[in-house]
Subunit: 345 residues, 2 copies
Amino acid sequence: MTLHSEIFEQPERLGQLLSAQRKTVETIAQAIRARDVQYAFLAARGTSDNAGRYANYLWGAMNGIPLALAAPSLFTYYQQPPKLRGALVVGISQSGQSPDIVSVLAEGRRQGCPTLAITNAPESPLAAAADFVLDIQAGPERAVAATKTYTAELMAIAMLSAALASSEARWQELSQVPAWAEQALKTDAAIGQAAQRYRYMQQCVVLGRGYNYATDFEWALKLKELTCVEAEPYSSADFQHGPIAMVGGGFPVFSVAPEGKIFDSMLRMLGHLRNDLSAELVVISNAPQALALAQIPIPIPANIPEWLTPLVCILPAQLFAYHLTLAKGYDAETPRTIHKVTETH
Amino acid sequence: MTLHSEIFEQPERLGQLLSAQRKTVETIAQAIRARDVQYAFLAARGTSDNAGRYANYLWGAMNGIPLALAAPSLFTYYQQPPKLRGALVVGISQSGQSPDIVSVLAEGRRQGCPTLAITNAPESPLAAAADFVLDIQAGPERAVAATKTYTAELMAIAMLSAALASSEARWQELSQVPAWAEQALKTDAAIGQAAQRYRYMQQCVVLGRGYNYATDFEWALKLKELTCVEAEPYSSADFQHGPIAMVGGGFPVFSVAPEGKIFDSMLRMLGHLRNDLSAELVVISNAPQALALAQIPIPIPANIPEWLTPLVCILPAQLFAYHLTLAKGYDAETPRTIHKVTETH
C-alpha cells in the first residue's frame, strides 16, 4: 500500500512545500532576474522530464522563457557540450544521482551560467553541482513508481514561475492547490470500480495538449510502468493528423481535458472520437460537456486556473494506474519494469 | 511503387542538393554568424521533428548551438509566445503549410529574430514568413510516407553545420554521402527477404542514441505509419533503466548502431539483449561485432564519420518498413494512418 499512501500524501506535501520554500524560491527568482537569462536549458529523465514539459509551457507563457532540452550524451560520450551563454541551466531529478544530469549542471557552472537543481535530495551530487537548490521536500519516496515527487516538481516549477512574475495573484492561486488536490482524491473509490473495466485492455492512447501535455505523458508513463499496458501519449494536435486512424469502435482513449484555452479543440476531438468513431473514453475534466462524452468520466474541481490543472489532473490519473495494476493482478510496489535511480552515463 | 522509387531517388537528390545549395547555405551561415545567435528555437512536427533531433545533436556538438523546441500552441491557442531574444528561429516542414509552424516563424520575425525555413516548398507560407529559405529540392513527394524529404532535411541541417563551422573537411565528408547512400540501398533484396520473418510481428522497440536518436524515432515512425506495428522508439539510455524488463525470449529489438563515440555502450547493450535475454535483433551497423549479434544484420558502408551516419542508416530502415508493409499485405502508397499535410492550428 506504499504507492497508494504516497498518492494520498500529496495534498499535505504540496501545502508544506508551498509555505516552507516560498522564501527560498523568491530568493532564487531574484538571483535569476539579476542575470541576463535568455532561455532555460533543462536536463531531466523519465518522470522529471515530464515535469520539464510543464515548465516548457508555464515558463514560456507566463515568464517568456523558452526551454531547450539537453541531449545529455553530448556532455558525456561526445564531450562536445554546446555553448550555454545566456542560459539558466536546470536539472530536475528526484534522487539527484543521475551522472549524466549532474554532468550537464557541472558544465553549465564551468561555463559561468546560473545553475538550478530541483530535487528531493538536497545533499545529492546534483545539488552540489548547482548554484541554487530547490528542495521539493516530498519526503522519502518508497514506492518505485514516482507520484509525490512528480507533483512536488510541478509545484516547484509553478512557484518559481510565480516568483519570477512577482505576482501575488499567482501565489494566491497556488495556495488553493492542496485543497483542490484533496478534493480530486475523493474519486478514489469510483476509480477503483471503473478500473475493473480495463482488466484485459492491452493498448490505449493518452491525449492532452498545452499545459496538460505533461499530464498526458506522465499518465501514459505510469500506465506503462505499472500495468504493462501499451499506453502511447500523443499531443491531440499530432493525434488528429494520423494516429487517429487506428481508432475503431471500442478503442480506449484516455484524455486530460480541463477547462482552459485549448478546451474547445479538445472537446471537438472528444465529440468526434465518441460520436463518429465509437471510441471508449476515459476523461479527466471539470467541464460537464467533456465528462458527458465519456464512458468513464473523472471529475476534478471546477474553477481551477488552467496553469494549475496539471497539479490536480495527475492525481486521479495516478489512482487509475494504481487500481488498474491491482485489477490486472500485478504488484504495485515492485513493478518489474523500472528502477528507482537512473544511473545513465 | 512510388514509395520504393522515392527511396531510391535519395542518393541522386542528396548529391544535387549538396551542389546546388552550397552557396545559398554559406550565405545563410554568414548572415547567421553576423547576428548574435545564442541558441536555435525550432518548430517542426512528425518526420521533420525527427530531423530536428539530428539538429539538436549536430548543431550542439559541432557548432555549440543549443536547440529549444517550440510548443506551437503557446503561439496559437494561448497567444503567449516566449521572448525569443538571442534565438535563431527555425521552421522545418516539407510542405511549408502547417499554420502553427508558420506562426512560430512569424512571431520570431515580429520579435526581430533571424528566421530560417527548411522546406521542400520555397513558395509556401513558411518560406514567406522566413528571412532565409533553405530549399531542400527533394522534388515532389508523391508517396504519403515521407522518405526523401527526411534525408534532404538532414542534408540541409548538415550543410548548415559545415557552413557555420567553415570547415572544408566537413564539406569533403558530405560529398561522399550520395555514394554511401547508393551502397546502403544495395541491401534492398536481402531486406525484402528478411522482412518476411516479421509478417506477424505486432510490437517491437527501436533503439538508438546520440546522432542516431533521430534515426531511431524516424524508423519507428515509418513502421507505425506503414506497417501498423506498435514500434516504440527509445534512447538506449532510457531503455536500459526500465523498459528493457519487457524483453523476453524472441522479443524484437531494432537497433541503429554504427561505429562512433557511443558504439561501445550500444554494443554492450546488444550483447546483453542477445546473450542474456535471448532477444531477436535487427541491427543496422557498419561494425562486424554488432552485426554478428543480430539475427538480421543490415550492413552499411564502413568508415562513415559518425555525424553523417543518420543520412545513411535511415535508408535500409525505410526499405525495411516498405517491405514489411508489403509482407503484411498493406498498401504502401495509401497508408490509412497519415495525411500528407499537417494543418494543425
